[in-house]
């Protein structure tokens, strides 16, 4: 078994890919937890498309891939914030307008200059084979920045995610918190683009976080679980893609979806078991949970 796991590590491309998927998966999981709690699931999908348009524009301007994608991602965040400020246009509509226009710009340029259409296949569908040490450094930097910022901003992030209006009254600069969070999300998406591909990023963000949500009702634990599940999903997906010779991005997403299904099934069976016990008179569910809660309080004193 150990030999089986170690065998692919002989190839440099594989352990490069393994490191990249571990870091990208964990970061996406962590950021994704807040994305789903803030009702921003569509943002991840949209920003990845905007960043793709930026990468194409960057290419024809002889800019670095990440510079073009980053600039367009940043522009998308600022435009979405500006459009939604008055409240007339809602977030999902603003994302649809801005990011689809940017993606369409990229597609239009590719269709005009067909010579480089192959170069962007990796960005669309992910290409784990081409991970360079430079890519790893960038992904490492983004992962560390995300982790640090999430730790430092834990309190304002939690308050503004739960109750934005009250957070504002209490003195939290909710607009700044939203902007910083959107920038972290953009950075994570850009660092993940070449690993899982534009078409798969939304799933990489949302699925581990949704699985974590099914596993706990505690905010801090949800963040930690999503971070760990994201990392595990990345590594396991990478191994499975090697074994079955499938596309890495798609395999990671499929493995993440399998974990979600497993978690949902476990929850469903647990609830049925508790309900059945309650109906059979073996236990009083309400009294049990209240009793446990009192015990927890007293133990915490």
């Amino acid at each position: 078994m150990i030999e089986f796991l170690l065998e692919p590590l002989e190839y440099e491309f594989f352990w490069h890919g393994l490191l990249a998927t571990l870091m990208v998966g964990a970061s996406c999981g962590l950021i994704g937890a807040l994305v789903i709690l803030r009702g921003m699931s569509y943002v991840g999908h949209g920003l990845s498309h905007a960043a793709f348009g930026g990468a194409v524009v960057g290419f024809i301007l002889n800019l670095n891939f990440y510079a073009g994608a980053g600039a367009m991602g940043l522009l998308a965040v600022l435009l979405i914030n500006r459009i939604t400020r008055s409240g007339t246009i809602k977030l999902d509509a603003a994302i649809g307008i801005v990011t689809n226009a940017m993606f369409a710009l990229g597609v239009a340029i590719i269709s005009q200059v067909r010579a480089f259409s192959q170069s962007f296949e990796a960005a669309l569908f992910g290409n784990i084979l081409g991970i360079t040490e430079g890519d790893l450094l960038l992904i490492g930097f983004v992962s560390l920045s995300t982790l640090t910022m999430m730790f430092l901003m834990y309190r304002p992030l939690l308050f503004s995610t739960f109750d934005q209006e009250a957070a504002r009254v209490f003195g939290i600069r909710t607009a700044s918190v939203q902007l910083i969070f959107s920038l972290l999300l953009t950075l994570t998406i850009i660092a993940s683009m070449n690993i899982v591909g534009v078409t798969m990023i939304a799933a990489t963000l949302i699925t581990p976080a949704a699985t974590a949500r099914l596993m706990t009702d505690c905010f801090s634990r949800m963040l930690i679980y999503a971070w760990i599940i994201g990392g595990i999903t990345g590594v396991a997906g990478m191994y499975l893609s090697y074994i079955f010779n499938t596309a890495s991005g798609a395999t990671i997403v499929l493995f993440g979806a399998s974990l979600y299904c497993l978690s949902w099934l476990t929850n469903f069976l647990h609830d049925r078991y508790v309900l059945q016990n309650h109906l059979d008179g073996k236990s009083d569910f309400v009294q049990t949970t209240q009793h446990q809660s009192v015990e927890r309080n007293e133990a915490g004193l």
Binding site: L37, S86, F151, L152, Y154, R155, P156, L158, F159, T161, F162, D163, E165, A166, A167, R168, V169, F170, G171, I172, R213, T216, D217, C218, F219, S220, M222, T289, Q290, S293, V294, R296, N297, G300, L301
Partner: protein
């Protein structure tokens, strides 16, 4: 245009808890209220009543600083909103404004009151935890501190929000419709609790649709309909004339000693054969 049924006890020497002078507020081209001047004295326990979409929430948001007025000045304790220290205002939003499936416990909700401070560490300090436990004990939610917020009743959620608003010892407590979304018993308990808090010197300002609760629990009422209609003690304010100007339509007021019963329209009479 506005009438004051009874002159309040405010003094020009000492700054009022809340002072609005010639304030006009609105959204884009739509003006909600125009040139409003209103003072709420320190230590007052006042309720703003008025029909739906009359500008009550816009007035609260203007006082809280989350909605910028188009013109005029808003002062809290004699200071501009930007100059007041954090924590001087405690705020309890409407229960319906929050996603109750959010993964937090009652204790975490109350702790959020400290999240504007300088502490960076995510976990609470011993002092923060002790303050939360003291408040929870006082407000009668100590036993549900570890419970998920989704597993609590409307009254317990209201108290959790109230505890969160009180953690920083605010001078002004603002509540947006604290009597909606809870049953009549919880409503009475919350208003009674607010009376106790007010007796400690905290100024309280709330909005409500429940005139009977205002009549029986609050010492001061402000009738509002896109501007100030009248303000004063409920027994002086709750007249057919003022309530009709505030709400329109027929208002019936039944008085018995110190109790009021306020109803609107004409009663529906069922025949004996009706189910």
């Amino acid at each position: 245009m506005s009438t004051r049924a009874i002159s309040s006890t405010e003094s020009d020497v000492y700054p009022a808890a809340v002072s609005l002078t010639d304030v006009t507020a609105g959204y884009g081209p739509h003006i909600v209220f125009k040139r409003l001047s209103l003072k709420i004295d320190k230590g007052q326990f006042a309720g703003i009543v008025g029909p739906t979409a009359c500008g009550k929430t816009t007035l609260l948001k203007t006082i809280l600083g989350t909605h910028s007025p188009l013109s005029g000045t808003v002062l809290l304790d004699g200071q501009a909103l930007n100059d007041i220290p954090r924590g001087i205002i405690g705020y309890v939003p409407q229960l319906g404004s929050v996603d109750w499936r959010f993964p937090v416990t009652v204790e975490e909700v109350i702790l959020m009151g400290f999240y504007t401070g300088k502490r960076i560490w995510p976990w609470p300090s011993m002092e923060e935890r002790e303050r939360v436990h003291d408040l929870a004990y006082r407000l009668g939610i100590y036993r549900c501190l570890g419970q998920q917020i989704s597993n609590t009743s409307g009254g317990q959620r209201q108290r959790a929000f109230l505890a969160r608003a009180l953690v920083n010892n605010p001078a002004l407590l603002v509540l947006d419709e604290p009597t909606s979304g809870v049953d009549i018993k919880a409503q009475h308990e919350v208003l009674h609790l607010l009376g106790d808090i007010n007796s400690e010197g905290i100024t309280i300002l709330l909005t409500t649709h429940d005139l009977n609760a205002v009549a029986s629990h609050l010492p001061w009422v402000i009738c509002f309909r896109n501007g100030l209609i009248a303000q004063g003690r409920p027994r002086d304010i709750f007249t057919n004339d003022i309530l009709t100007r505030t709400y329109g339509g027929d208002i019936t007021i039944v008085r018995h000693e110190d109790y009021f019963l306020i109803a609107t329209g004409t009663p529906i009479h069922f025949s004996d054969g009706d189910p």
